[in-house]
């Protein structure tokens, strides 16, 4: 070991001074680089394998298309993102999506969220379709203080937890079910085009059939709540295990008490199995309504062809909107070219969620998480820029909810000649109600 070398005061000052200047310069540079990056990474977590992979794939295609619009010039696209060529507020920084597959497993989703936040250093998260996965992923985001915009998970619980970093663009199940019961009220009053007044006594018995994960269980509770409050009777209440190999007993229990209205909340594989089984039973009722998802997907429509006529779905999107929303027709054309199918409720919301991300980043003008969060809180995206028929996007704290888009709203569509026709809100209805439901023969 050599003798210790004494450091003179001058040398000490020189060294510490240069270190201080160097580190200040480095941190300033780092700060600038962080504030105005060449690209902004967004983590996108969807179920890309497993029984709902089809919905995940549609959502992935939708967000990819949205980012393509944001990053490149699309001169003929009649909304601002077509002209952007990157995020203007970030000096044209491009959005880079990093996709991950959660397979419908909440713990896998949480681990992937950590990977995206801590390893990939994403500016935010988008996803996750399943409400249960959205729950764990949003908890990770809350813990690491990273913003998350959720385009499509509809469990009402998600926005009642007081989370500051979680923003939901879609209407939730309470809103969708409120719409449906309002629609029933209009039907009783004779205010629905195509049918006269239907007395409540003729349309009051509900048969509810919901899958038993977070989303289905939440729907079931809200159905019970509204039915109880508005004087409808639940004559059958079936909660079945998601991805069941057989649903014969469940269908028998559902149809046994002869309900007037059938109400469903099912993912795609269950929706197909339920409908096949109901077909075997030659199911009939006066009305068939479902919470979108499984019953409102291209795969469902292809599988059952004309049998789907008369089935009603809550949704946020229909091709029938194209007349009043040319931008939706324009974007749908490109989406169909790429993915082979039209936009449906899930994919349209995924596109809208990513669009919200682009607007929020633009408003934030920085990739600093706090700046993004504040921008999300303040954002007001006009409905004319969206493909869904909402007033727009405005995340508000209202009625015990935090960061719920209060400008969102739902539609009720009914398959007629295998096309989803809008029947609610009645002032934008594109067809008369087909009543009663023809049944499955």
């Amino acid at each position: 070991m050599g003798a210790k070398k004494k450091i003179s005061r001058r040398e000490f000052l020189k060294t510490t001074g240069s270190l201080a200047v160097g580190s200040a310069a480095f941190s300033m540079g780092w700060g600038i680089a962080r504030a105005q990056p060449a690209e902004v990474k967004i983590g996108v977590i969807y179920p890309l394998s497993g029984s709902v992979a089809h919905a995940g794939k549609m959502s992935k295609d939708a967000v990819d298309l949205c980012v393509d619009y944001v990053n490149n010039k699309w001169a003929d696209l009649p909304i601002p993102i077509g002209q952007w060529e990157g995020i203007p507020g970030l000096n044209g920084a491009k959005i880079k999506l990093i996709h991950a597959d959660h397979r419908g497993e909440p713990d896998r989703g949480a681990d992937l969220a950590k990977k995206l936040i801590l390893d990939e250093k994403v500016a935010g998260i988008c996803g996750c379709y399943h409400s249960s996965v959205t729950k764990t992923v949003s908890t990770v985001c809350e813990r690491y203080k990273i913003p998350m915009i959720n385009p499509e998970s509809t469990s009402p619980d998600l926005t009642t937890r007081g989370y500051k970093w979680f923003f939901r663009a879609t209407p939730h199940d309470r809103i969708f079910l409120r719409d449906f019961f309002e629609f029933l009220g209009l039907l009783h009053e004779g205010k629905v085009p195509g049918v006269g007044a239907i007395p409540k006594s003729e349309l009051s018995k509900i048969g509810a059939c919901t899958e038993n994960t977070e989303w289905g269980a939440a729907t079931r509770e809200v159905i019970k709540e509204f039915a109880g409050k508005l004087g409808y009777e639940i004559v059958s209440d079936v909660s079945y295990p998601h991805e069941s190999p057989d649903l014969t007993a469940e269908v028998r229990n559902l149809l046994g008490p002869k309900p007037d209205i059938l109400m469903f909340a099912s993912y795609i594989s269950d929706a197909i199995l339920l409908t096949k089984t109901m077909k075997e039973f030659r199911a009939s009722a006066k009305m068939f309504w479902s919470q979108d998802v499984g019953f409102y997907q291209p795969k469902f429509m292809e599988t059952f062809g004309k049998d789907i006529d008369g089935i009603m779905n809550r949704t946020v999107f229909s091709k029938k909107l194209f007349g009043v929303k040319p931008v939706a027709a324009h974007i749908n054309e490109e989406f169909k070219k790429r993915s082979g199918v039209d936009f449906m409720g899930t994919s349209a919301r995924a596109f809208t969620g990513m669009q919200a991300w682009a607007y929020v980043l633009n408003k934030a003008g920085s990739t600093d998480p706090e700046a993004i969060r504040q921008a999300a809180e303040a954002i007001e995206i006009p409905g004319k820029d969206l493909i869904v028929p909402w007033k727009g996007i405005n995340f508000e704290n209202e009625a015990g909810e935090t960061n719920q888009n209060t400008w969102s709203s739902g539609l009720i569509v009914q398959y007629q000649n295998q096309e989803p026709e809008i029947i609610y809100p009645v002032d934008v209805a594109t067809a008369k109600l087909l009543y009663p439901w023809p049944g499955l023969k």
């Binding site: 394998s49 991950a100 909440p106 990977k115």
Partner: protein
Amino acid sequence: MPMHALKDALSFGDLPASERIGFAIFIAFCLVFPWISKGSFAQAVMIQFLIFCLYGLGWNLIGGYGGQVALGQAKNVGMSAYTVALFMVWWDVPFWFSTPIGVIIATVESFILGYFLLRLKGHYFAIATICVSLVWQQLFVNWDLIGGARGVELPLKETPNFVYMQFTSPIYYHYFAFVLVMGAILFMNWFRKSRLGYQLRAISANEEVAESLGINIHWVKVKAYCITGVFAGMGGAFYAVYYNYIDPFSVMHLELSIMIALMTMIGGAGSMWGPIIGAMILIPMDRYLGAWLGGSGIVGVDFMIYAFMVMVIAAYEPRGIWGIIEKARRRR
């Protein structure tokens, strides 16, 4: 714990040098991992690995040493996880108080169930454990008081909190899981040299002979089954605070029970290190293949690779990887 039992737990002198070196490397690796790992995903996978080590070491007792194929560990994981979560949600009870209660509930359930079910043998026992586990899962799914299918979300504390085991950094979780696994390994080291361990192995080899030696077969099996419940309970309690959300599908699913058994069998059931080897292969493979291939659009390939590896190992050496290692050793 009597001194001689503690001595047995801490003494690895009877193991071959290669095993001792392997164990030392394992400890060193776990200790330095948070500092050398590249990224938080690796740490998340490592924590998953440690949780499954704990489950597997517990299952190895009844399934490996005892030769009883129990396929219902998930119910014990779930019971303990639910206890911790609900105690925190309802009464704000800290993790350290609710965990022992959760583990006791899981153990008592194992005792009651084991007392009746362990009179069954072979496939009948396996089927019975599956059935009971499914019944428990359905009960939890439909029991609205405890959240039903919607599960339970643990309230997030404002700041990292040791009392409630809520941290931002995964390092704390890593070391806590590591301590649990080390405790489990030391217990297993005592167990294999204990009277109970010898009795259980004798039962696994030949029940009639063991009975003729005066071993109370039923009672020994029940004891082993209870200890398995303790391990599952500890893992479940940890899972609840680590993920902050549980539902009957993530902690009580049959898939979890099968994964625990499969992992131990692949590693080598009835051997000290089998569950760790099994977890070391299956957990990173499952998580990394899913993360790498799932997001890239090559969907399903990870499942195929995973299934192929399981088939190859099962066909080549039914005693698992530890069987392959022992074969190689004998050849030398």
